[in-house]
Subunit: 274 residues, 2 copies
């Protein structure tokens, strides 16, 4: 980023809509920025795909954001961060922040017992990105893939008995069998903040919940303060938001508000093949 630029352009990338929970936290914390959000909705979800495929998709998308003028990139997708952060960082010319390190850092700060449970997609869990990030902080981690939670959130069943039953099955497995002492639950998928109240009820009462979306916004804020001429509170002014989607713009306008918490305007359809 140009250190004299008073106002950053922050490119936020996700496979679909989940990264809007990260964008929401970013806008709340750093209102004086221009945001470009890219949702690769024509190829979502990434969570069940291979590392080669996810890396190729993520590099294409972040190249697009860089061409659009982003001078800081946020990989607001746990799967893409877990599988492809190094490839992305190597492929672009601006600073890149993923969601895994900030989540691991906050989990480390919160855990007294040094035992943490991480829930995420199949691909995030298989990569062991959280396990490694937490091990580097002397934390014993258990990762649990919860592939049904994303479809349940997308069905809108965020306060539904079925979702509660599914979450109970997954968390009993994660916190059972010798791991009862874990005292932090990391939401390692950007869809999960939408069911945080339900997860709060289902998780053991002594457990703190760490939301990667929230931790990541703080990490970005720190980076901006480091490289921006403005005050430590970050640049001033109102945010601007532009959205790009590889599947239908209309669907993005319809689904987006569930994740962002307010209307999603100015969505542009993008075809990365062209």
């Amino acid at each position: 980023m140009n250190p004299l630029a008073p106002r950053p352009t922050i490119g936020v990338f996700d496979s679909g809509f989940g990264g809007l929970t990260v964008l929401k936290e970013l806008v709340a914390l750093i209102p004086g920025a221009d945001y470009l959000y890219f949702g690769d909705t024509a190829r979502l979800p990434y969570g069940s795909k291979s590392v080669e495929t996810v890396a190729r998709y993520a590099v294409e998308a972040t190249h697009f954001l860089e061409r659009q003028g982003a001078n800081l990139l946020v990989i607001a997708c746990n799967t893409a961060t877990a599988l492809a952060l190094d490839q992305i960082t190597g492929a672009v010319h601006v600073p890149v922040i993923g969601v895994v390190e900030p989540g691991a850092e906050q989990a480390s700060a919160a855990s007294k017992n040094r035992r943490v449970v991480v829930i995420g997609t199949e691909a995030t869990v298989s990569s062991h990105a959280y396990l490694k990030a937490l091990q580097r902080r002397a934390i014993e981690a258990r990762e649990k893939a919860c592939p049904l939670l994303v479809p349940l959130v997308e069905e809108g069943w965020v306060e539904h008995a079925v979702t509660e039953q599914v979450a109970r099955i997954y968390l009993q497995d994660a916190f059972g069998d010798g791991f009862q002492g874990a005292d932090v639950l990391v939401l390692g998928c950007t869809h999960y903040p939408l069911i945080k109240p339900l997860l709060r009820r289902v998780a053991p009462p002594h457990v703190s919940i760490v939301d990667s979306a929230h931790s990541t916004a703080y990490a970005v804020s720190g980076k901006i303060a480091e490289i921006c001429v403005s005050s430590a509170q970050g640049p001033a002014g109102q945010p601007t938001l532009r959205f790009f989607a590889t599947d239908s713009a209309e669907k993005f306008r319809r689904m987006g508000p569930n994740f962002l918490g307010h209307p999603v305007d100015s969505v542009e359809h993008v075809d990365l093949k062209e």
Copy 2:
């Protein structure tokens, strides 16, 4: 197809693994054929995507199968059939058979009350392809999107209490509110045959279940008999099977047998961008 060819090469296309349930029925009914199966696993699922995106993906995939020598194409994906059968048929030079018309035809033959419920993905239902196909046969249809059933099948919960509860919620909605008289349930998604025993328990007892995979295999068999020099029983000999996947070949080998019912060998990775 060359009418003198004694042995057809049948190209079977699906967004992922579900079409293997159609391939299974095809191989059982028409063993003397060479099969090419294409699963667009790097871009699945199609069920929540727009018509433009699904049509583009499906045309790319069927062009690939035609280049590989297919002289008959089976669109073993309800979403692709519902959204893009006309575009596919217009884009290739060989006969194309989708799953919607055969399913509607069998449903029409089975329904005494002329009222039918169709369950499928969000995209299949939004297209109203089944509704229109059944209306042409003087059948009143109700379509119900069941977006959680595919992830539940892919989680392997084919005989799980949660899946039964979800199916009960969907089917109560579909057969309720003035539609109790419906006497046929069409499985309008190739994942659903895997939970047919569960759906049988949950559906009203008087309802017949029509499986599009099964109906489609019969339609293909009829087409082969029409254009092939062999007997009405179809060409003789053992089937050969080749599989192509856009995501990892290893994952295809691992997941495929759940749908096909026997091992999946000779999987080749394909990148349609190259």
